[in-house]
């Protein structure tokens, strides 16, 4: 080796190293793919005595769905994750427990001030199951049909009972009505467009879904933004518990049950839509940044475009750099807040470490526009986000971009759809001199969405689960 190649070798940028080879059979499938199944049941379990709990885990592991490529879609999938209380109940060694990130140790309820989960979103309004510290395990079954769902859940709960390792506290059902491959949420929007692509995941990078490069193309984000044990966007390993084997191929999950006041939203949209010269549907599109059929406003600000919605290579392929004033897609629109892309300049570099992988589903029966609804009807979304750092990714997005507007030059304005407005919220739709696209302001905003509970979870690899099941987690 010559001196110059030696120096070149030392200069290798860790973020440029291709870590495409990840061990998909060791990673839970939930992390690597969106299943797109119509049904799901989230079994919220309390663990029993550690030895029994270990047996429960050991027997459950064989049913888990990994990231292995499917030749055909199975009837059901099974995945598992643990709260900090769950890991403590399992009696993992104290040095291991202490090595988890602080926000995970504290749990979501204790992070209320940071997340702005106050007022109507405060824990006293949560479902009872989330007001205690008894939820230890999230055991999720996604299914193609009801019979398969019931059967698989019965089997898993049987294991829980027989081993005495876990007790069912609550079963949370979720379901989705899919239109053109995208689930409808209860306010009538097609949802689930796009997720951040990361290196090693079993799909190529779709335009608009990884990170923006200098030449305007998109490439997958560093694996370590979504999986522990791999380099992240700064070329470092994410903060992770010890031992390394416990953390590697695992990730953190945020679970939030968000009730939707459908009647309130419909009335609001109807009233404001009458005042808005572009009409009700266009106003709905300005709230979210997508028309209710899913058409991205930034690409098609004046009408829905069904062909574009169906085209998965283009329905997330847009940037905001040429629309910094929000004349097409408002700066405070829901999807622009959640993922501002290049809104802050620097070619989008400021958002690459603030991305989250969304895996949630609606709950409650979808009501068509002509069906009468009430706010207290069972309607909502189980919001699920995966990320390597809850603190750096989910909590930042929630605090700075959803519940605050400074980065976006929107002052104290919050996200119109999911913001904790308390009746005093305001949201500005920027506009032009075009009479069909005027500026519009919504004020005295209520909470269209109310938090009903949730927590932070650790989703271990198969290796880690084996270690937990055999009591061989050794931080030394």
């Amino acid at each position: 080796m010559t001196t110059s190649t030696k120096i070149d070798a030392m200069k290798i940028d860790a973020t440029k190293i291709d870590t495409t080879k990840i061990d998909v059979t060791d990673i839970q499938g939930f992390v690597l793919k969106g299943y797109n199944f119509p049904l799901a049941r989230y079994l919220l379990l309390e663990l029993g005595h550690p030895e029994a709990a270990q047996k429960f885990i050991a027997q459950t592991v064989q049913y888990l769905t990994t990231g292995e490529r499917w030749s055909a879609k199975p009837a059901t999938t099974v995945n598992i994750a643990f709260t900090f209380n769950g890991l403590a109940k399992l009696e993992l060694p104290a040095p291991t427990l202490d090595s988890f990130p602080v926000e995970f140790q504290q749990g979501m309820r204790a992070r209320g001030e940071i997340l702005y989960d106050t007022g109507k979103n405060a824990p006293e309004h949560w479902d009872p199951v989330w007001r205690e510290d008894r939820v230890h395990v999230w055991l999720a079954v996604n299914a193609q049909n009801q019979a398969a769902l019931d059967q698989r859940c019965d089997l898993l709960l049987q294991i829980a009972t027989q081993t005495g390792g876990a007790k069912l506290l609550q079963a949370q059902d979720a379901c989705a009505t899919y239109v053109d491959g995208h689930p409808k949420e209860h306010f009538g929007y097609s949802d689930g467009f796009g997720n951040p692509d990361f290196k090693g995941a079993d799909r190529k990078c779709t335009p608009g879904q990884g990170k923006l490069t200098e030449n305007g193309t998109w490439e997958a984000l560093a694996t370590g933004e979504f999986l522990l044990g791999y380099a992240d966007e700064s070329g470092e390993l994410p903060v992770a518990p010890i031992p390394h084997l416990l953390a590697r191929n695992g990730t953190f999950m945020v679970y939030r049950k968000m009730h939707q006041n459908v009647a309130m939203f419909r009335t609001f949209l109807e009233e404001q839509g009458r005042l808005y010269p572009g009409g009700k549907e266009k106003l709905a599109s300005k709230f979210v940044g997508r028309w209710r059929d899913g058409t991205p406003v930034e690409i098609s600000p004046d009408q829905m475009d069904p062909d574009l919605v169906k085209d998965n290579n283009h329905n997330t392929d847009f940037t905001y750099g040429k629309d910094l004033s929000g004349l097409r897609c408002p700066i405070g629109a829901h999807i622009r807040r959640g993922n501002p892309r290049d809104s802050f300049g620097f070619n989008g570099d400021l958002v690459n470490r603030r991305r989250i992988m969304r895996r949630g589903l609606p709950y409650g029966k979808y009501a068509e526009e002509n069906e009468a609804v009430q706010d207290q009807d069972e309607h909502g979304v189980i919001f699920i986000a995966l990320n390597a750092s809850i603190f750096r990714q989910f909590e930042f997005v929630q605090q700075q971009w959803i519940e605050y507007g400074n980065d976006l030059h929107q002052g104290n304005d919050k996200d119109l759809i999911i913001g904790n407005h308390g009746g005093k919220g305001k949201s500005v739709m920027q506009g032009t001199a075009d009479p069909k696209n005027p500026p519009f302001i919504c004020a005295s905003l209520p909470n269209f969405v109310e938090l009903r509970g949730g927590d932070y979870f650790f989703m271990p690899s198969l290796t880690a689960l084996q270690m937990m099941a055999s009591g061989t987690v050794d931080p030394r």
Binding site: D13, A14, N406, V428
Partner: protein, 212 residues
């Protein structure tokens, strides 16, 4: 010029903190940190007395550790007191005001720094500060080309007008005009907005009782 964003000046001072002194019970960096921690951070804070200040910050910087890839090791030559301030007007006026209007604070803080000449001679103090100045490259996201007074007034107008629009958008022209005249009269008569981050949690709308 990078220190200027329109008429707003962005000042960045890095003053080296004095080294260990065997005669002291605690080091200079610790002493200044303790002093800063005790200062009020609301509208009673010392810099509220200098009315041209938008906001400012005092921090003790121990070292700068490089985080990233490829890794490299580098260190500062000493600890530094970082002073950042965004204000209206020119630098000399501001530094002179600091020396004259908050001399006790300036003394209590900068006496822990290398080469501090005191505030008795404002020109000497200004020269010292300029020697410690580095170029400001980034401003806070919301900094625009407005003075403190203009900003406070503009926020009040923004709040009033956006609530007016929200209440009246879509109304017939005649109704709109008469409502606007009432708004205009109220806005003209409204007292100058209060300074100093009072109740920053409250939205501006809550401070406009006539709006609801």
């Amino acid at each position: 010029m990078a220190n200027q964003s329109g008429q707003i000046y962005g000042l960045t001072i890095l003053a080296p903190i004095l080294g260990e002194d065997d005669h002291l019970d605690i080091g200079h960096a610790t002493a200044v940190r303790w002093y800063l921690a005790g200062l009020p951070q609301d509208h009673t804070g010392p810099f509220a007395k200098i009315s041209s200040t938008h906001f400012c910050r005092l921090v003790v910087m121990d070292d700068v550790v490089f985080v990233g890839s490829p890794a490299r090791e580098e260190h500062l030559k000493s600890r530094y007191l970082v002073f950042e301030s965004n204000f209206d007007g020119d630098l000399d006026t501001y530094l002179t005001r600091m020396a004259r209007e908050i001399p006790d604070l300036v003394d209590a803080v900068w006496k822990h720094c290398v080469g501090y000449p005191g505030v008795a001679d404002p020109a000497a103090f200004a020269a010292y500060m300029k020697k410690c100045q580095i170029t400001t490259t980034f401003f806070f996201a919301d900094v625009n080309n407005k003075t403190v007074d203009q900003t406070l007034k503009a926020l009040q107008v923004q709040s009033d007008v956006s609530h007016f629009i929200a209440k009246n958008q879509g109304k017939p022209a005649v109704e709109l005009q008469s409502a606007f005249r009432i708004l205009l009269e109220r806005m003209t008569k409204a007292p100058a907005p209060l300074r100093g981050g009072k109740d920053s949690e409250k939205t501006a709308a809550e401070d406009r009782p006539y709006d609801h």
